[in-house]
Structures are given as C-alpha cells and as structure tokens.
C-alpha cells in the first residue's frame, strides 16, 4: 500500500464530485451572479401568501390532531369545538402507555426498525456498489431482478408470502418482519446511483496498489458513501417504523405487535376509544419526528432522484 497515504485527499476530492451538482442551482440565488436576477429575487407578496396558505392547509389536520390529543375525553366531543384545548391534560398519553401495553409495542417496533435499517443500509451498499462497479452478466441480470421487485410489491403476493414465512419458521416472530424487509430496491438504486458517480480511476489505482476487492469496498468506497448512508438510514427507519402490511401478516401474538398493528386494532374496534387512540398515535409519531429534526438535512437536501419510494 505505497500510496495509501495519498488516498485521503483523493477520496475527499471524489467525495465532492457527486455533490457538485448542487452549486449550479444554488447560483440562482442571485448571490454569485447579480444583475437581472435581483429583480426576480424580490419578494412577491401574493406568492408568499399563497405558499403560506397552502402550508397552513397542510398543517391543519396535524395541528388539530395534536391539539386534540391534549384534550380530556369529555371535551373531545363537546360542541362547540375549540382548536385550543380548554383544559390541558396528558391523560390520553398516560392511558395509551399503560392500558394498551404500548411500551411493549414501542420496544418491538424499535427493535425491528433499528435492526432492519442497519442490515438494509449495509447490504444495499454492498449490492449497489457491485451493480455500479462490476459490469458482468450476473450483476446486469440482478439489476433487472431488483427493478422487477418495484413493479411487483408484497401486496400482490400476500398469501404466498405468508406461506413462505410460515415454512421458514419465521411466523409470529420479529425476525419474520426483519429478514424479508432487508432487500429494498430503493436502497440498492440509491447506492448504485451514487457509486456510478465515483470515478473508476479510484478503483483502479487502489487495485494497482494491491488492495483486495472487498478491502477497496470497505475501506474506500463505503466511507465515501456516507451521505447516502445517512439518507437511506433515515428512509429505511421511516419505512420500517411505519410499516403495516408485513407485521400484519407475520404477527399473530399481541405481545409481538408493532405500533402500527396495535393502532389499527384500536381504530378498527367497534367503539373507538378516541382519547387513547389520539394519545397512542401521537406517541407513535415522536421517534420519527425526533430523528427527522436531528437528521433533516439528509432528507430535505438529498438529491433524491432514484426510484425512491417503498
């Protein structure tokens, strides 16, 4: 590894490459290129107003929901309704947490989401890299296979999937949700897309220096892909936390329920216990909101262009 010391700067440079798309659009801010751009950059009151009216419309359902969850049960249905609770209470949250065995569901969901996310990110990186940097019949075929999975979602093969899970002995266990969810087309595409932008020269020079193929991946390529890694981690966490259909078909015993299945059993009841349902739903949102506000730049600024959706 004669040139190992040379790698970091090279790596840093390559690193900048994929994100180099960014500055171009940013130039439209008018900061780097004054001129007639400044005219356009002037605030338009009607447009700003329109934007904020739309934002308010989007915020309304959530706001109403959140504020309602702080109302006592008696106030929920008493006319006239008021946006702001007349009396603030946390009773709904307390009831949800204690009465519905929510702590257990919370733990189950967290276990599933975190484990799956780690596995998804890792294996998507491996697969995406192989699909981007090794062009042979096998990888080309597998790329088409992955593409096919996006067209034929789990929802189309519910019953046979159940049979497979059962035959593998994964029925009614958290592993039954984790293992099948590891492969996601989106994750693979994200990494493939990213590694396509990493110049092959980097790969070649590492090979010349005698690095093994897997070492190249783990020591050079994987660290390079950190931004994608975070983005996919957040996506994957969101998918798994909010997933409903897999837990629904895999889990039968309430002690393994995830939050979504538990929530559905509350809302599907004959008489919906709204105070508990509101409290429980709001609690179920908290972890994602937290993750989002910590890592939001990886989501909002991600140049999401691959087939990103699950």
């Amino acid at each position: 590894m004669a040139t190992a010391a040379n790698l970091p700067p090279a790596v840093a440079e390559e690193h900048a490459q994929p994100t180099r798309n960014d500055p171009a659009p940013r130039r439209r801010d008018g900061r780097t290129q004054p001129g007639n751009r400044e005219i356009r950059a002037k605030a338009s009151i009607p447009l700003t107003l329109l934007m904020w009216v739309i934002a308010a419309i989007y915020a309304l359902p959530l706001l109403w929901f959140l504020l309602s969850s702080f109302k006592p049960g008696s106030e929920l249905f008493s006319y006239p309704l008021s946006m702001i609770p007349r009396e603030w209470t946390f009773q709904g949250f307390v009831d949800a947490w204690e009465r519905v065995d929510f702590a257990q569901y919370f733990l189950n969901t967290a276990t599933v989401s975190i484990t799956t996310t780690v596995l998804t990110v890792f294996f998507s990186a491996c697969t995406g890299y192989a699909l981007a940097k090794y062009n042979n019949k096998g990888t080309r075929l597998f790329f088409v296979c992955i593409l096919a999975t996006t067209m034929l979602p789990t929802e189309v093969i519910l019953n046979p999937t159940f049979s497979v899970i059962r035959d593998l002995g994964l029925y009614n266990s958290l592993a039954g949700i984790i293992v099948p969810s590891v492969l996601t087309a989106t994750g693979v595409f994200m990494f493939r897309q990213f590694f396509l932008t990493v110049p092959d020269d980097l790969l070649h020079s590492a090979r010349i220096d005698g690095a093994g193929e897997l070492a190249i991946f783990f020591r050079i390529m994987l660290p390079l892909s950190k931004p994608i890694l975070f983005t996919l981690a957040i996506f994957s966490f969101q998918w798994r936390w909010n997933d409903y259909i897999w837990p629904l078909i895999v889990l039968n015993d309430p002690k393994w329920y995830t939050l979504q299945v538990a929530l559905r059993s509350i809302v599907g009841a004959e008489n919906i216990d709204w105070p508990v349902l509101l409290g429980a739903s709001v609690i179920s949102l908290l972890p994602l909101v937290l993750v989002f506000f910590v890592f939001q730049k990886y989501v909002l600024n991600a140049d999401v262009s691959a087939g990103l959706k699950d």
Partner: protein, 313 residues
C-alpha cells in the same frame, strides 16, 4: 470491462506488469467472486422472498388451497369464478376510480408546492418546506386516523366548520363517494411530501438561462412553465406518476384505518379484497387468482407508461 485500463496518471507509479501477470484464477476472483459476495445476501433474499412467493402465488391461483393440506389443482376455475364475481369487479373498479382521481391530485399538489418552494420570490421557504414535509413522517395508519378524526361525521372539525358557516354537515363516512373523497384528500396530503422533494430537485436542475431566454422572448410565466419547465422535468413527472399510480393501486393501510373499506364494502379496494378473501376467509387459491390479476394490471400500467414515456422522449 474485465481488464482495468491503466492510465499513467492514475497512480504515481503504475505497474501494469504484476497486475496483468496475475493468474486467471485470481482475476476471476476479482471480477466474479467479489461482486458475488457483495450481492450474495440480497440475491438470496430476492429468491426467497420474491421469486419463491411469486411462483407459489401463481401455483396457488390454480388450486382451491385454503391454507392447510395438500394442493388440489382445479385448473382455471378460480379465474372463471373471479371474472363472474361482482364484488371483485367492484373492488377493482373502485381502485381504478381512486387511482384516477388521486394520482392527478398528488401530482398537481406536489408540483405546485415544489414550484412555489423553488421560487425566489417566496419568503420563508425553508419553514414552509418543513411544514409540508411533515406528513411524510406519519404512517399510513396514523394518516388514516388523523383524517378520520378531522372528517368525523358527528364530531369532526370539518363538519363543525361547515355548520359554523351555516351549511349542513356532510355525511363523510356514510356516503360512499364522500368517504372516497376523504381518502383521496388524505392520500394527497400524505403523498405530497416525498414527490415534492423529487420535483424540487428536478426544478433546480432546469438551467436558469433557458427560463431567461424565454422571458426575453416575451413568454409570460405560464408559457415559461408550460414550454420550458414542464418539458424539463418530464422524466421526474413520469417517475412520480408511475410510482404514485402503483402506490395508489396497492393502497391498503391508510384505508384500513380511515374507512375500513366502508361504508359497507363500497370503498373496498383491491388489496383489501385480496386480504379479506385470502386471510379472513382463507380462500388462498381464490385470493391468489385475484393477486395474479392485480399483478397483470400493475405490469400493464408500468409498460404503458414506459412506452408513453419513450415515445415522448
């Protein structure tokens, strides 16, 4: 591809000699074994959780399997029954109606919001973007709950507003079409966030110079949008429409929470129909036949849109 092309500048001391003289076996290791190791786990997962159930589903659709016992082949009987089944057509038809109404709404909402969010004339874009993005964090089940709460027939905020403004409260949950409307609103609300991100990325990639040139040529805002922006984001539009269509066709969780397919079975969509027949009534064979039809429909949609896209491009 098998031979790395070595340029003198690639490394300080290029030594093509040793690399080239490596045995064939070693080279095979590099270019065949290594990628195989890297994709191995996902290949296994693909085979076990995609190919296997896919094949099994096809097999089931020709049997009267009920979840236990041996497979008993009954030929095309499931499909014959299915094509004479009114409730299957109802579910499929309702799914089409839902898709046809919700996809354009999602498209218009996401593109409109994205266009506003990249416009320099709008103030407070970051905050607005965050607000509009929040529904992305919310699970389909909770989206269903939120909208059920908002549009409750006797206790909902919307009916309260309507009666406050002097109107008559609407039967949001007992009228089939109104219930579907709520589902469509909810899907647009939940679906905007992500598609908006895709559109923002696409809109930012349109060269400013093109828009300026159009402006100099006297094109007004709408003409610029119609003839410069829209063609510029065509690939993204295509992707958003394709993904939203597939998403709408398999809508399940949100409806389960919002209406449960009601009133009655009026708004039962196709995946829900499959779930009901396959799991609640354990008619596995029959449900698998319905799944096969859905699969064909999804494939057809994808192929049509792909073709349409190619023709346009």
């Amino acid at each position: 591809m098998a031979q790395p092309t070595i340029t003198p500048t690639a490394a300080p001391a290029p030594q093509p000699g040793p690399v080239r003289s490596k045995s064939a076996l070693k080279r095979r290791n590099r270019y065949v074994i290594a990628p195989l190791v890297l994709i191995g786990v996902n290949v296994v997962l693909f085979l076990v959780f995609f190919v296997w159930p896919g094949a099994l589903g096809m097999l089931y659709s020709f049997t009267d399997y009920r979840g236990i016992g041996k497979l008993h082949f009954i030929g095309l009987a499931n499909f014959q029954k299915l094509f004479a089944d009114g409730s299957f057509y109802a579910a499929l038809g309702r799914t089409f109606v839902y898709t046809v109404l919700s996809v354009p709404l999602v498209y218009v909402c996401s593109l409109g919001v994205a266009a506003l969010l990249v416009s320099k004339a709008v103030r407070g874009r970051t905050a607005a973007k965050t607000v509009i993005f929040l529904p992305w964090l919310i699970s389909p089940i909770v989206v269903g709950v939120i909208w059920k709460w908002l549009f409750g027939q006797d206790f909902g905020f919307i009916n309260f507003l309507i009666s406050g403004l002097g109107g008559n409260p609407l039967p949001w949950s007992s009228d089939g079409n109104l219930a579907l409307a709520v589902v469509i609103f909810a899907s647009a609300w939940g679906g905007t966030a992500f598609n908006m991100l895709l559109f923002i990325a696409a809109l930012k990639n349109i060269p400013e110079s093109l828009l300026e040139a159009a402006e100099l040529d006297g094109a007004n805002a709408w003409q610029r949008f119609r003839h410069v922006t829209l063609p510029g984001i065509a690939p993204t539009s295509f992707m958003v429409i394709l993904l939203s269509t597939i998403h709408a066709m398999k809508e399940f969780a949100m409806i389960q929470a919002l209406t449960g397919g009601g009133p009655g079975t009026q708004n039962t969509l196709i995946v829900q129909y499959i779930y009901k027949t396959g799991f609640e009534q354990s008619k596995v064979g029959y449900a698998s036949a319905a799944s096969m039809v859905l699969m064909v429909v999804l494939l057809a949609i994808a192929l049509i849109q792909l073709r349409f896209n190619r023709k346009k491009g």
